[in-house]
């Protein structure tokens, strides 16, 4: 079943925030889905886009699949006009709340402690914006259609893939300059993604030598000598220290994923 995308008004956004606060103290509280369509809490969007919660009959298997779906349905809209439309992204977070914060069998939910995962601030703030589960998936796939898979896919199958955050997304997406760089994303994808299983390699979530945390630290050093948006991925990979040998050994340039949007 498809639903017409709308925008939450400011009162509805505040009510969603109050619900999240309530949910943290009362895990059985039900999400206020009525906010999505009521004329008193939502407004028409200046575009016509229809969305489905399970476009393939099952929940999304990864945030990457989710991001590809969003890019596809919103391709009819000028991206710049919606990128910072906080009412839209908060509406979508509530719409997909059962996948962003799924209920257990007993009906309880455990939301993240940051509202920023679900509610997008009206004022741009990168530290909060990159945390938004919905917008970041759309932005990442829009900017890096193939390589964003390494940020948006979990290492192993999990029950709530849309609710997961990994070390790579924290290390790379938290800095706008790294997140924006096609080179950085290509290198991350080559080092840490295993196309054979369509998931990041095992160990890519760690913090030891050659880990994403170390990768981000090494990129800070590279930034002194190279422009991370102009330098080629090959140049970066050639110059990575020995601790990355394990990841370089099996790396290969990105090929389109087999995941369907």
């Amino acid at each position: 079943m498809s639903d017409l995308v709308r925008l939450l008004d400011e009162n509805a956004i505040e009510e969603f925030r109050r619900y999240l606060i309530e949910l943290r103290g009362n895990p059985g509280a039900q999400p206020p889905m009525y906010l999505l369509t009521a004329a008193t809490t939502s407004v028409e969007a200046p575009f016509t886009v229809w969305v489905e919660r399970e476009p393939h009959g099952t929940p999304f298997k990864s945030r990457y699949e989710f991001g590809r779906y969003l890019v596809d349905v919103f391709k009819v809209v000028d991206g710049a006009s919606i990128s910072r439309e906080h009412r839209l992204w908060t509406w979508l977070a509530l719409y997909y709340f059962d996948q962003l914060c799924p209920p257990t069998r007993s009906g309880t939910r455990k939301p993240l402690s940051h509202d920023a995962a679900y509610v997008l601030d009206a004022e741009f703030n990168w530290t909060n914006y990159y945390r938004h589960f919905v917008r970041t998936a759309w932005v990442a796939v829009g900017m890096h259609p193939v390589e964003s898979r390494v940020l948006l896919t979990t290492i192993r199958e999990v029950d709530a893939p849309l609710a997961q955050r990994g070390e790579l997304i924290e290390q790379i997406a938290s800095r706008q300059s790294l997140f924006r760089s096609g080179t950085v994303m290509q290198v991350a994808d080559q080092l840490y993604y295993d196309p054979a299983v369509d998931r990041p390699r095992r160990g890519a979530g760690g913090s030891g030598p050659g880990s994403p945390r170390r990768f981000a630290a090494v990129l800070n050093q590279f930034d002194l000598t190279y422009d991370l948006e102009s330098v080629t991925a090959e140049t970066v990979i050639e110059r990575l220290p020995k601790e990355f040998e394990r990841w370089k050994r099996d790396s290969q340039p990105a090929q389109p994923s087999s995941v369907e949007a």
Partner: protein, 254 residues
């Protein structure tokens, strides 16, 4: 432990080479203008690309400024994707396109933009800065006349560093506030002098109450001074800014 810096003949772009001015706009994001005419003097490849990055903490925007041989500002320098509420800094890069693509031929450190208030007469500045020969000292507060912050001219870009580094600011300016307050109260300058009036107004704002030279030079002055410094530190949040800057830097130590 050694900090590894991968320097490959990269030249330093200094404050003498560039000038960036921030322009506030009513109801919209601020934008900037950059004068990069000084870059030509560095003798760089004319085909090399020039890029300016604006940043606040972890948010940043990038603007293409053409090439060394043909600097061309973009039509739009709106800082729309930058966090607000903190000082914007800039970094200028000159990027190799003919040798090792992406290699930096030259770059600047953090550049603080001048805003329109910086165009006013230096006499309006509470604390002018002067570069002088200070031997091995980094800085000194000159109180012979009006307060002037003397900084060591032998240290390249020290003025720029002080204006952009919260660790340096937090180490210097609270001491300045303390010393100037004592001087204003105990010194020989008349209350009618403009700089005295400016500093009295500044102290009053910090303390949230009128501050005058009638206070005397004993315990009450010391108490007011400590309160003013604390208010200054809390308002500027040096420690938080320094911590945020260091999280961004994350240098590698071996």
């Amino acid at each position: 432990m050694k900090r590894r810096l991968n320097s490959t003949g990269r030249q330093k772009i200094t404050a003498e080479n560039i000038a960036i001015r921030l322009i506030e706009k009513n109801g919209g994001p601020s934008c900037f203008e950059a004068n990069l005419s000084g870059i030509a003097a560095l003798g760089l490849d004319p085909a090399a690309r020039v890029v300016i990055e604006a940043y606040v903490k972890t948010s940043s925007m990038r603007f293409d400024f053409g090439t060394v041989g043909a600097v061309q500002p973009p039509n739009n320098t709106d800082l729309s994707e930058i966090d607000r509420g903190a000082g914007i800094l800039f970094r200028v890069k000159v990027i190799d396109v003919s040798g090792v693509t992406g290699r930096l031929l030259a770059s600047s450190g953090p550049v603080r933009p001048r805003d329109e208030s910086d165009e006013e007469d230096d006499r309006k500045s509470l604390l002018p800065m002067r570069e002088v020969d200070l031997g091995q000292a980094i800085w000194r507060l000159d109180l012979d006349d009006r307060p002037v912050l003397l900084i060591n001219r032998a240290i390249p870009d020290l003025a720029q560093q002080i204006m952009s580094d919260p660790v340096l600011q937090g180490a210097i300016f609270p001491i300045v506030v303390h010393e100037v307050m004592k001087t204003v109260v105990n010194g020989t300058a008349s209350d009618d002098e403009e700089w005295v009036q400016d500093w009295l107004a500044f102290f009053s704002e910090l303390l949230g109450e009128p501050f005058t030279t009638d206070i005397g030079d004993g315990e009450e002055l010391e108490e007011r001074s400590l309160r003013a410094v604390e208010a200054f530190n809390n308002g500027q949040q040096w420690a938080s800014k320094a911590r945020d800057s260091q999280m961004i830097a994350q240098v590698t130590y071996e």
